[in-house]
């Protein structure tokens, strides 16, 4: 009996203490109450082991105080699990009050977490405010950049599509720091080609010398304050085209000090004025030329002639004037018609041109009256010219439409300029008096005003 009790005690003890509970002896298993007790003990062991291993979902059918205490522990652990989940979801109000020291530690941890989270949230809010500020700043910058880009696009579009060339020239290096793309239309060179070459390459040699001197002068004026940035200068410049031809341009410029580099720059706009210049030259030519003969007209003669006299006064050189008039020109017109008269005038003009040097000035100053201003020519030489002219005009033979021969002569008055006292008008009066003398003395001759 004692042996059976010992066996039962040993079995129960091992059931409580052994890692693997031993099997029950058949004799003990036959005892129903003991077997039930043993089975409940095994279930309680399983329940404890499951909870100990973290399996909180486990359950037991055992009733009673001990199982109840274990279930309370299980309930507490489950509630702590739920509370932990709640904390994880952000509910820091969870507190433990049923687990002794663990409750204190848990609550302290939760409070600390909450405090840390609040600190983080405050920092996060601060960062969010900073980020929002930065975002606003970035947005403002983006808007400003967009406006700038738009403005640049407008500017680029303007400079790229306009015919005029916009440029900036460094007055120290005489290199272009900016040239708008329209330069390619004007001169055939790309902006890059222009900017890699010095100013000289853009100009004809004579223009390069002139402009470099002008730029240097203006730069000095600008630095000394006698030329300001609001002063716009206009000049005509002959520039070189890539194909070797030259292009006449008009440049409107102003001198500006670069705020960043301190360098004095020329800001300019250049436009093609070739057509305008051609038109102007043609107008000038028409204004100064006699349309029938192609030589200078009276107005041009009066203007230029006075300048020649002034030049002679300055240099003390001689100058003579020949006044020439076709003899009986009215008779030529009346007999052969005005067309023939015009041809006679043209023939005399051509004769005069042949006799003149490039420095002389010949002009048709009246209906059939011509003036030849011979520079650096004294009276004797002028008389020789007059004599040759008389002979050459006399040799002219024109023919009318019906083949009739037309011949005519001319009379010439010669006067030498008295440079120190005389004006062109005085000289013309004296030459005219000599002409009348030649007319009065029979025509086809020259007379000198002594």
């Amino acid at each position: 009996m004692n042996s059976e009790l010992d066996q039962a005690c040993a079995l129960l003890r091992k059931t409580l203490t052994a890692k693997a509970p031993p099997g029950m002896h058949a004799d003990l298993a036959a005892k129903a109450e003991f077997a039930r007790l043993h089975e409940e003990l095994l279930e309680l062991r399983r329940f404890i082991m499951n909870i100990a291993s973290g399996d909180l979902a486990t359950s037991t059918s055992i009733k009673g105080y001990t199982a109840g205490i274990l279930k309370t522990l299980q309930a507490n652990l489950k509630h702590m699990t739920w509370q932990t989940q709640m904390i994880a979801s952000g509910d820091f109000s969870q507190r433990l009050d049923f687990m002794g020291d663990f409750s204190k530690a848990f609550n302290a941890m939760t409070a600390r977490l909450e405090a840390s989270l609040q600190t983080i949230r405050k920092k996060e809010e601060k960062l969010n405010r900073i980020n929002a500020g930065l975002r606003r700043q970035v947005e403002r910058r983006k808007r400003a950049q967009a406006a700038l880009t738009k403005s640049e696009a407008h500017y680029r579009n303007l400079t790229e599509t306009m015919k005029d060339v916009v440029w900036i020239l460094d007055t120290e290096t005489l290199h272009f720091s900016y040239v708008s793309p329209s330069v390619e239309r004007l001169r055939g060179f790309t902006p890059e080609e222009i900017m890699t070459q010095p100013l000289d390459a853009a100009l004809t040699p004579s223009e390069a010398v002139r402009l470099k001197r002008t730029i240097e002068d203006n730069r000095e004026k600008f630095l000394s304050g006698t030329l300001d940035s609001d002063t716009y200068l206009t000049s005509e410049i002959e520039q070189v085209h890539k194909d070797g031809s030259s292009v006449w341009t008009e440049a409107i410029t102003r001198y500006v000090k670069n705020d960043k580099t301190g360098v004095v720059e020329v800001h300019g706009v250049t436009r093609d004025i070739s057509e305008r210049r051609t038109l102007r030259l043609e107008l000038e030519r028409q204004a100064t030329t006699d349309s029938l003969t192609g030589i200078a007209n009276r107005r041009h003669f009066l203007t230029t002639g006075q300048k020649e006299i002034d030049r002679c006064k300055r240099h003390g050189c001689t100058l003579s004037l020949l006044m020439l008039d076709i003899d009986h020109f009215k008779a030529v017109n009346d007999t052969f018609g005005h067309a023939t008269g015009d041809r006679a005038i043209q023939a005399v003009a051509q004769t005069c041109c042949k006799e003149m040097r490039s420095t002389d000035l010949g002009a048709r100053i009246g209906g059939e009256e011509f003036a030849l201003l011979l520079v650096e020519t004294d009276l004797n030489k002028a008389c020789s010219v007059a004599e040759r002219l008389l002979a050459q005009v006399e040799a002219i033979e024109l023919f009318t439409e019906n083949g009739r021969s037309v011949r005519f002569t001319t009379s010439i008055g010669v006067a030498e300029c008295r440079p120190q006292t005389e004006t062109l008008s005085d000289l013309m009066v004296r030459a005219d008096q000599a002409l009348y003398k030649a007319k009065n003395m029979g025509r086809n001759r020259f007379e000198c005003f002594e």
Binding site: K63, G64, Y65, A67, G68, I69, K71, T72, A75, N76, K78, H79, T81, W82, M86, S89, D91, S93, F98
Partner: protein, 174 residues
């Protein structure tokens, strides 16, 4: 029943401060249990055990609904609801409520009540007695979720456990 005499309203709780200037709002648990178990006895003797339990469940649910409307109305967050309930139940000495698991989407909850007003300290009876609590919890849950709940006590002091455990499961919508 058109002309009812005992239709519940919170007014029937009365003005305790006025009515009990000296004794105050507290009384001994024995008195509460005396009344409840006396009711059980009488009702069971008249209507049988099942009907008595059903009546207690129904009464508990009515009380739970009134309790929810009185103290928890307007709360939409589960955590806040649980926290509020824990505080009030503890403050009123009803019990220490804890949540073991909560699946709001599935409407599945496991709730424990320690030091329960109805059963803590009762002798072991080999059956659960907190049927009033079951109804009470069902009333609370229905008030919060708007869904019908079936609440069942699975562990009770009276079955040897130290903590009452309730499963609350939302019923399928009809």
């Amino acid at each position: 029943m058109p002309d009812r005499k005992y239709r519940f309203s919170w007014d029937l709780i009365g003005d305790i401060e006025l009515g009990r200037p000296n004794l105050g709002p507290l009384m001994r648990i024995e008195v509460y249990r005396l009344m409840q178990f006396a009711f059980r006895d009488v009702l069971e003797s008249h209507y049988g055990t099942a009907q008595t339990d059903a009546l207690f469940y129904e009464a508990g649910k009515l009380a739970g609904t009134a309790f929810y409307n009185r103290f928890c109305s307007g709360i939409t967050d589960l955590n806040e609801f649980v926290r509020t309930l824990q505080e009030i139940l503890r403050e009123l000495g009803i019990g220490i409520m804890r949540v073991e698991s909560a699946d709001e989407e599935k409407g599945s909850f496991v709730i424990t009540m320690s030091e329960d007003l109805d059963c803590s300290g009762l002798p072991e009876l080999d059956y659960e007695v907190c049927v009033y609590d079951e109804g009470f919890i069902a009333g609370l849950m229905e008030g919060f979720t708007g869904r019908k709940f079936k609440v069942k006590e699975v562990d009770c002091w009276c079955t040897g456990d130290r903590t009452c455990r309730f499963t609350a499961q939302a019923e399928e919508k009809a």
